[in-house]
Amino acid sequence: MNVTFGDRDEMSPSVTGITPLPAAQSTSDEFLLNVGPQHPATHGVLRVVVTMDGEVVKDIVPHIGYVHRGLEKLFENRTYEQIIPFTDRTDYLSAIANNFAYVMGVERLLGLEVPKKVEYMRVLMAELNRIASHLLWLAAYGLDMGAFTPFLYAFRDREEIGAMIEEASGGRLTTNYFRVGGFVHELPKEFFPRLRKFIARFGKAVNELDTLLVENAIFVARTRGVGVIGRERAVSYGMTGPCLRASNAAFDVRRDMPYSIYPSLDFEIPVGRNGDTWDRSWVRIEEMRQSLAILRQAMDGFPEGDHRTRAPRNIEPPAGEVYSAVEGPRGEIGFYIVSDGTRKPYRVKMRKPSFSNFSALPEILRGNKIADLVAVMGSLDLVVPEIDR
């Protein structure tokens, strides 16, 4: 297969999906603007082609697929165990949530019950992962908006989570931590003292970050009323996670498709009012507080028991299918696994939150100013490998 560059016009209608009006019919300063695939505001490799009228965005066409690795095809040639590390690499900021969804799906196919302690360990890790991901979003979004200081504060706290996760799993980002049936090792001895210290300190740190960035007057001026999407549209676009909840729709997989020990935990689902860029930011800050409450409960109720159950050495689920979803930091992460009774899945479909969230970008951005493009895209918290898979 040969791909030669320069033999076609990258801005031609067949490539961009936009047919510009002939100059004679155009009544204004309409022009096309290309952003990406290499651009600091995209946080990854994606491209948008914007039709502009002056500085107002008339239309916007997203282009994705630059890091498409064909993972779903690869999965069909891997055994069930071999797939776990791949799930990390779809979304490097929520590797644990991805492990969680996949492993839970395989366990459901097998009809395997895991011990209570495993569930607690999983929830602890998933919530730490959520805080770490939101902190990185906050750091990067601050930079996008010209605020450097929150980056340093957020990374200070994120470092602590990284150290805790590394101690338990051996990895910081792509942890490859969960196994079908439980975990390889117990939590390290120092984990709970460390977690206790972190919880005590981070409660204040969230307030600090809140006042430093989200309540900051300049930040509010740049984000209030910008990039609004209403509830009906957000639902129709399949948006999930903080992006949907900002639009006043209280949907959270942890509560609406209950899994693991979440039904027994007491936490709130923060919901925004207007569905604008500021609400999307506020919801994430509030979610960190809720995650902290979950961590506290899971730590206090942590049971005695085994850190794994007897899973078959060769995982050969009976023929059937399952869809297992968890609430990741960006929204609903789901694995649709179809088994034909062999050691390799017949088909695995990954339902990824960034894919649906990003598809709503034209709807959100139309009518806004071009300067808001960065503010809106950053507030969606996109992870590109997850969009392309």
Binding site: S236, G238, M257, E321, Y323, V338, R351
Partner: protein
């Protein structure tokens, strides 16, 4: 708040002879390609299935079929319904539902290029993930490519 049984009965009342079976934890419904849009509109408007979680396809070369899978979720009743459509592998064609659920637009573009399914009436039928010059449909079971090397069988 409707239960899965009530949803099944409502579907049977509206579409007599519909094929339903429970798939934990959802209800699975198989429909004809022509009736797909009608079913989805009914599910969305009458039974509050306002959320298309995802849509994808399964290649079934043994049956000579491509099976489309639409997974719907209702925030109101917190239940799921899986709508299936079986299409012949050659000339697989089904009407688009991207105007019923906006998220279907990208999911259908993806399914079209990966499985070779045509979505009639799609507003933007360009490729989504794959390069323009790739031939074949990668997620079909018989897809071959020089860069695709089979791993040795695990025993």
């Amino acid at each position: 708040m409707r239960s899965a049984e009530e949803i099944r009965d409502a579907l049977r009342g509206r579409f007599p002879g519909i094929e339903t079976r429970p798939v934990d934890p959802a209800l699975s419904v198989t429909v004809q390609p022509d009736a797909l849009r009608e079913h989805l509109v009914f599910l969305r408007d009458e039974l509050a299935f306002d959320f298309l979680v995802f849509m994808t396809a399964l290649d079934r070369p043994a049956d000579g079929a491509v099976e489309l899978v639409y997974r719907l979720f209702s925030r109101e009743s917190r239940t799921s319904v899986v709508v299936r459509v079986r299409l012949p592998r050659d000339g697989a064609r089904v009407p688009t539902v991207s105007d019923i659920y906006r998220t279907a637009e990208w999911h259908e573009r993806e399914t079209a290029e990966l499985f070779g399914v045509e979505f009639a009436g799609h507003p933007d039928p360009r490729r989504l993930l794959l390069p323009d010059d790739l031939e074949g449909y990668p997620l079909r079971k018989d897809f071959m490519h020089p860069n695709l090397v089979r791993l040795p069988e695990v025993t």
